[in-house]
């Protein structure tokens, strides 16, 4: 019986709050998914549950609504409450609980024991209801705070206190890949995209915009989904480099340099998946939106402000007119 009670407390007060918190926070930001040891998992759950537990305890003892709802009971004095718990403890630790509950000639105080059991169960149900509600609220707040991080980080002096709160309690629990492969670190209104250069084990270099990423239960990256992908034609580039330097030129450095931009081949299709096992290294780049690109390019080209140049960003359809044929 004691083992059952211990399991009940462990599940209701530590495991369920941890799972509930993770579930609700994951609506807003993906949390770290490391396979933790039981001790680490318990520490995380206890830390998460500490504040809601304290508030619930205060509420069910002092606040009118939380004190009576849900599962209302006729609350007695503190002494009666203590007596209820003593009776229930006696039932749970008794070697033969039926002697204290079943109606038989040798039984004593059966009705009082049932009443005490009912009161304790209702109090537990009321406490857990409020406890889970507060855990859920904490999870949602955690997620919402984390989502505003980029906004506040861009105005660090103004939001110093909030940033400290997030960096201390929230950031260490967010997946590092979320920080690297999304625009989490920048304000939403800046509309920052993440583009990535991926060098594969076989020497092929891909470039594209990160559409999604996938993480294993142990927190490791399993793959990246790209869109608007190009492959660098290294062979053609080397060939062009060789042919651009005729043997007659004594100093190869004096030859016209070859631009690598012409050797990127567009890959047809809207989604391109690269598995982690084939990734050698990543070059992550956070890029400003198209409107910023246009205004910057026009400004730089038009140094004298003559309003001569017009810049437009080519759409993905236009850039994929000459797709790579996987040569």
């Amino acid at each position: 019986m004691i083992a059952l009670v211990t399991t009940y407390f462990l599940i209701s007060y530590i495991l369920v709050p941890g799972v509930l918190f993770r579930f609700l926070t994951s609506w807003f930001v993906p949390l770290k998914l490391f396979e933790r040891t039981r001790t680490q998992e318990a520490t995380f759950a206890v830390t998460v549950a500490l504040l809601p537990f304290a508030i619930t305890l205060f509420g069910v003892w002092n606040l009118p609504v939380m004190r009576h709802l849900p599962f209302p009971i006729a609350e007695g004095t503190a002494a009666q409450r203590t007596q209820d718990y003593q009776r229930v403890t006696a039932i749970l630790t008794a070697s033969d609980a039926s002697r204290l509950l079943l109606n038989n000639p040798s039984a004593t105080n059966n009705d009082a024991n049932w009443r005490a059991l009912n009161q304790v169960i209702r109090r537990q149900a009321r406490f857990l209801t409020w406890y889970f509600v507060l855990i859920a609220l904490e999870g949602v707040c955690f997620g919402l705070l984390a989502r505003r991080y980029g906004e506040w980080q861009s105005r660090a002096p103004r939001y110093r206190m909030r940033l400290w709160l997030i960096r201390t309690f929230i950031l260490p629990n967010i997946s590092e890949w979320h920080l690297l492969l999304t625009s989490f670190n920048w304000p939403q209104h800046e509309d920052v995209d993440v583009t990535i250069d991926i060098l594969q084990n076989d020497g092929i270099l891909y470039q594209g915009r990160v559409a999604d990423y996938f993480i294993a239960p142990d927190g490791k990256l399993t793959g990246i989904l790209l869109e608007n992908v190009s492959r660098f034609d290294r062979e053609a580039y080397h060939e062009a480099q060789k042919t651009s330097v005729p043997e007659s030129i004594p100093n190869p450095k004096a030859a016209q340099p070859i631009s690598s931009a012409a050797f990127w081949r567009t890959i047809p299709g809207s989604r391109f998946y690269i598995g982690q096992s084939s990734i050698l290294n990543l070059n992550v780049r956070f890029v400003a939106r198209d409107q910023t690109l246009i205004s910057l390019a026009e400004k730089i080209l038009d140094a004298q402000d003559t309003n001569t140049y017009e810049v437009t960003v080519e759409s993905e359809e236009e850039t994929s007119q000459h797709p790579d044929i996987y040569s």
């Binding site: 920080l179 670190n185 956070f286 890029v287 910057l296 810049v311 960003v313």
Partner: protein, 69 residues
């Protein structure tokens, strides 16, 4: 991968996507300016690939009607 996310976030925050883009554009456009001007002078537009993979089309801005008259 065990990373100090606080440090990573601060390091990322020190760079600015707009500033990086400005630097890239300045470097590329200053080299290509004569080539761009030559292409535009022949009545064509010039397509340039920037390091993040996007392509921009540079053309002459159409002159307002009064200016043509």
């Amino acid at each position: 991968m065990v990373v100090d996310l606080k440090k990573l976030s601060e390091a990322l925050g020190r760079s600015s996507p707009e500033e990086d883009l400005r630097r890239d554009l300045q470097r590329i456009l200053s080299v290509r300016k004569p080539e761009i001007d030559q292409t535009l002078a022949s009545g064509q537009s010039y397509v340039l690939r920037i390091p993040d993979g996007r392509r921009i089309r540079i053309s002459r801005r159409p002159q307002p009607a009064e200016a043509i008259q």
